[in-house]
Symmetry: C2
Subunit: 378 residues, 2 copies
Amino acid sequence: MTAKLKGETREPPDITRTAVTAAAEPIQVNFNSLPAEENPPERISIRDVAKQAGVSIATVSMVVNQNPRISRGTHVRVQRVIDSMGYRPNRLAQSLSSRYTQVLAVILPPLRHAFADAYFGEILSGISDRAGKLGHKLLIEQAKPQYIKEGKHIELYERRFVDGVLCLGFNEKHGFLSDLRQYPMILVDNRFGEGVLDYVHCDYRMGAKQAMNCLLQLGHRNIGMIYAAPESPTARDVLEVYTTELRNAGIEVKESWMADGCFTDEGGAAAADLLTHRDKDLTALLCGNDKMALGAIRYLVEHGHKVPQDISVVGFDDIQHLAYANPSLTTVHLPLYELGVAACERLVSRIRGKVDRVAEVLPTHLVLRESTSIVRTR
Amino acid sequence: MTAKLKGETREPPDITRTAVTAAAEPIQVNFNSLPAEENPPERISIRDVAKQAGVSIATVSMVVNQNPRISRGTHVRVQRVIDSMGYRPNRLAQSLSSRYTQVLAVILPPLRHAFADAYFGEILSGISDRAGKLGHKLLIEQAKPQYIKEGKHIELYERRFVDGVLCLGFNEKHGFLSDLRQYPMILVDNRFGEGVLDYVHCDYRMGAKQAMNCLLQLGHRNIGMIYAAPESPTARDVLEVYTTELRNAGIEVKESWMADGCFTDEGGAAAADLLTHRDKDLTALLCGNDKMALGAIRYLVEHGHKVPQDISVVGFDDIQHLAYANPSLTTVHLPLYELGVAACERLVSRIRGKVDRVAEVLPTHLVLRESTSIVRTR
DNA sequence: CTGAAAGCGCTTACAG
DNA sequence: CTGAAAGCGCTTACAG
């Protein structure tokens, strides 16, 4: 595997001119240190350090890895040589010899805008921050059909790209998840089967209870629900609590009060359209996420319903910039950043064998803003 | 580097119970194939394949790498053994021996919501899709101050994590970029110095011209500008075209017509506040990105200005869901997905030595929606 | 066209 | 407490 890579045999690589050429140009920017070392820095290996320090490579290795078996004296001495030579261990060699790659993968669903998604983004922030602190790198992948078909998700482990994987935005419908059950993997913000896979998710039941409580206390009784992905256990949690709470309040639950909004803005708008036409007495809408809530509000406002005076709307997620919406959205705050942190933390524990089962649920809370009010009197 | 990792020496890893335990639980999901191989699949190496196929490991290696020196016969025979044994080459060993890691890194700026950003997200989608097609993995990093201080960006290459890096959202103020100029690196959607670093960016001059053209044709003469990051060359392009086009139209450019909106929603609102108070005759606002445009519109509408009747607003980026804003936003479409594709493509060429300089500019176009109209008559 | 051997740069028992 | 040696799983000249 020289310059020749699969299906790219034609053009002989022109190695004659490389970065060196570009770097020879005049530069008027602040250099950070290094006396402008132009040539591709010749790599220094553990052997070079060993020779320079007058010890064996085994000793250098143990110093790098803070092995306590090395005496304080040699440690200091070798470390000084390491620093002065600017030695950085080759992690390919480290990982090939040792058990770990120190790399994790995040797998995203094959949605067109998965990378620009506020929900995934917030979780990713948490994962990235914690991974950095734990000395791990993050590989990011999108599980398109072709990707799964080719078994790329399995290759992640088998070809030693990563030690573990975090799966975002998947549910029981995604069978490929069970291919990974024998490896360190954590399903983020959902469950799978009954504890078949490790998971960390937000407490959607608690969130739904908080939302319903709020609406019922405001006097609402005709409450519609815009749900999505009923095959998802956490989404089902919300749906169940919704019906249970209505029943507990002595309200007859109607099938016609519920519509699927597909987790999208447009879906939310369409669902609001459907619901308000099916039952003109609806005074509130509980939505499975903020995007659908925003879409619903947009539809309602554009069609002459006042929010919240005519219809109250509650969302789920508490994604950024919601406070700027008009009206600002009352919603269930999901601790997504913390979820990412927890998932990453647990995955690393799992990899290190410190834990053999991960099943964690994070509490939510309601954020009361302008899209809800006391029920309208007629 | 066993189970002992830096600063984590305390707890002896409990290796006794691992994935096997969990997998032994009852499972009621669709298995994909494999006769439920519960034990951690013992890895099969190139040696196993060689023995089974009755050839040398060199031959197996060459078959895997499609080396044409292998005869058709042995190729087919060995390939069959590879398939039947389910052999997957260990990429750590491959990379250690060969010149490439087949991994690229994307470095994002240290913004709180960098991962949930529509602008970055769209570029990332393009990068991810193309990287996948080119057989490369993607590492994702955020360049926090600490990260740079510790030289992690240099480690990316020196410790052989990646072959190349794509930098998103940076400009000349970010000195660390010059640390990377001796390695394959592409600055995405900006320039640095005068061609010091490889880059691919959108044609902001063209975009600015299209936007100004539109506003001038609609009869606007008192046009304000909400810019951001004047230290960024591409942002400066817009500012320059803005003033040039005004002058060409015989309009005196006023310093008071310009305000910094920091690329944020809130910044855009604040800038709109400032500008409309400094000059009540402003009939149009050109904004450096969509977020600021949306913030400006929000401010204007909330303070009694009708958009577009009183003030027209034009944005930059054309991020998703803009068509749903009210009024929907007229904006300069930046080919961000294509930008990501191009950047990734060029970087890989650069790594393979097929090209020694990357400097590419992608065309834009204006998307006319509802936030602009003919100038108000007074 | 194929194989034996050296080497990539580390870690890890095993001696001492 | 430290070193010599084997080994991780590949690729790549070098022979033949």
